[in-house]
């Protein structure tokens, strides 16, 4: 097992109160596997990713749980040891490529940086590798483009550069936090295709964080549905679409626009708003918006139950 996350809890200690951004998430990822973490804004998906990398900004802290990567306990590593892992064995790419690249350094410099740092290559060799990587992500005229600055690239190209930087050291795990959200739809498709290819070529595991179930369907084998810091449902992609069991997941699926429904129908919504993470309602966090709410839902959090093989749900409907 490449990555094992067990009961991860990351809280933010702010002036207004404790924000329980991640409140007990568990999942596993085999080498070369793909996991999609799905949820609304504020569900804790990004914080989960940052927690794995141990990059949670203050006032946040990981206060509980176990992170096992390649047999090593990440929680016990020093900062120096983590830095050797970041960008090297686990890489992360972020949502907005425009602001995620340093505007005063050339693109080449930013790729070479990683290579020189982790692979200890001299500059000349590192530069050659950089050209290879840029070609791998399909950037035309890679050699000349290395000398350009980020603002000289288009949005889609910049995201490719980000991917190049992330993959430069052949990480075993790539975490992609909403990589296509700020891109054009056509570019989105290209990026996802690129990621599929790269995964195959490099035998890399991918965690894709998104609110877009469609993207998850393209790329991921397993899906984890998060809501308000809690795990709602965790199973493989086929089951999510054909046999999901959690009301929240049903809501998400229903709200997808579909070409095969009559156009006159209004889009379905899940009523209500996500809760404030400081003042979470007692019991199941989804209960205020749930159509199937029962008395237990309001009092106690449901446990995570295996409803069928490899299908975990956290809901009182199945207890």
């Amino acid at each position: 097992m490449l990555l094992t996350v067990e009961n991860l809890k990351t809280y933010f200690y702010t002036e207004e109160g404790i924000v329980k951004a991640v409140d007990g998430i568990s999942f596993i990822l085999p080498p070369g596997g793909t996991l999609g973490i799905v949820g609304e804004s504020g569900s804790g998906k990004s914080v989960t990713a940052l927690s794995i990398m141990r990059l949670v900004p203050s006032p946040g802290r990981i206060i509980g749980g176990e992170l096992l990567f390649d047999g090593q306990r990440l929680m016990e590593k020093t900062e120096k040891e983590m830095r050797e892992i970041r960008g090297n064995r686990i890489s992360m790419i972020f949502q907005d490529p425009m602001t995620s690249l340093n505007p005063v350094l050339t693109v080449g410099e930013q790729v070479v940086e990683t290579i020189m740092l982790h692979q200890k290559l001299p500059r000349r060799k590192a530069w050659l590798k950089a050209v290879e990587i840029l070609e791998l992500v399909k950037i035309p005229r890679a050699r000349e483009r290395l000398k350009d600055y980020p603002h000289q690239f288009s949005g889609g190209m910049r995201q490719r550069v980000m991917i190049a930087i992330a993959l430069a050291c052949h990480p075993r795990l790539l975490i992609a936090d909403e990589p296509t959200t700020s891109l054009d739809v056509t570019i989105q498709a290209q990026i996802i295709d690129l990621m599929k290819e790269l995964k195959k070529e490099l035998n890399m595991a991918i965690i894709l964080i998104t609110h877009n179930l469609g993207l998850v369907a393209e790329l991921c084998q397993k899906v984890l549905v998060m809501y308000a810091g809690d795990l709602m449902e965790y199973t493989d992609i086929g089951t999510i679409f054909r046999g999901s069991k959690h009301p929240y997941t049903w809501g998400l699926l229903q709200s997808l626009p579909r070409l095969d429904r009559p156009r006159s129908r209004r889009l379905e919504q899940i009523e209500g708003q996500p809760p404030s993470l400081i003042k979470l309602p007692p019991g199941c966090p989804f209960h205020p918006r749930c159509q199937y709410v029962k008395a237990e839902c309001r009092q106690e959090k449901p446990e995570l139950i295996e409803v069928s093989s490899d299908h975990l749900v956290s809901c009182w409907l199945y207890q």
Binding site: E271, G272, P288, R289, Q291, Y292, V293
Partner: protein, 308 residues
């Protein structure tokens, strides 16, 4: 049926929860939002308080000043230290320092405000024309702005005021105004450019709104907030400029009770230990300018809290 009933129940519960929710701020524009934030900013309120204080002092000068600032001259009582007779002391002609400071508020405020009005007028016209019509008008006006912006203000003010044989306050208004409009022009232009592109301008046009209506009802109100900041800070700057120009003898002339001029007179007697001639007018300048600056920066913080 059961599902329907449950939805209705959910809706009822939500309505109740909403009543207990924090009041949603209804904003109509940047200005309303800013004003709301402003009322919570202590420093800005302090600044506003200082400004109002100085304005009141200026307005009620005749009532507040114990003696006439210019006409009351008493050589016998010159250079009297602060005390019972003269609260802040008397100057070399026996004039009351306190009275002169009080009346000095009028001069400073007048210069500050009038010069800024001049700057505002030029700036708004330039900025709106450039921003609204774009293309070559924009280029031309912006070149002019750049050139004025590139002038060394201090030097230029000195040079211009210098060539007038008897410099006076009126010239100050014009000179300071003519040098200070560039910031406002740029702000206004930026607002015009930004809003011109937005959809509601197209919508307004679609229902037949003419140019003038669009400018006055849509664009200018949004300019208000940053322009207020620039104006306040501009007034502060003008007051300082008047102070040092008068200090150098290139602004208000004796016997006017300009604070800067008083500092000039005070400098001579500082060596002789007569500190009150210089210390108090300087404090007056500081307090006034501080008031405008605090308010201006507080206003800016209210517009864009991220900068704090």
């Amino acid at each position: 049926m059961k599902v329907l009933k449950q939805s209705v129940e959910i809706k009822k519960r939500e309505a109740e929860e909403k009543k207990q929710e924090v009041e949603v701020i209804r904003t109509t524009s940047l200005l309303m939002y800013t004003l709301k934030r402003l009322s919570k900013n202590h420093v800005a309120i302090l600044g506003l308080g200082l400004i109002i204080f100085v304005i009141l002092v200026a307005i009620f000068a005749p009532v507040l000043a114990p003696y006439h600032p210019i006409k009351y001259v008493n050589i016998l009582k010159s250079m009297v230290p602060p005390g019972k007779e003269y609260p802040l002391g008397s100057d070399y002609l026996g004039r009351d320092v306190l009275a002169r400071i009080i009346y000095g508020a009028r001069i400073s405020l007048m210069v500050g405000l009038v010069a800024e009005m001049v700057a505002l007028s030029i700036g708004i016209i330039f900025g709106s024309l450039a921003g609204y019509y774009g293309r070559w008008i924009d280029q031309l006006l912006m070149r002019i702005t750049d050139i004025i912006y590139a002038f060394p203000t201090v030097l230029f003010a000195i040079a211009i005021m210098a060539v007038f044989e008897r410099p006076s306050i009126t010239q100050l208004f014009l000179v300071l105004g003519f040098l200070g409009w560039t910031d406002i022009a740029r702000l206004v232009r930026a607002q015009f450019l930004a809003i011109k592109e937005r959809e509601y301008t197209e919508a307004a046009r679609a229902i037949g709104a003419g140019d003038r209506r669009i400018i006055f009802r849509h664009i200018l109100p949004n300019c208000l907030a940053p322009v207020v900041v620039a104006t306040t800070v501009g007034i502060a700057g003008n007051i300082l400029s008047e102070a040092w120009l008068s200090f150098l003898g290139l602004g208000a002339q004796p016997p006017l009770p300009s604070w800067g001029l008083m500092l000039n007179e005070g400098q001579t007697y500082l060596m002789a230990g007569k500190y009150w001639l210089a210390v108090f007018p300087g404090l007056a300048i500081m307090v006034t300018v501080l008031g405008f600056n605090l308010f201006g920066y507080g206003f800016r913080d209210a517009i864009d809290p991220r900068l704090r």
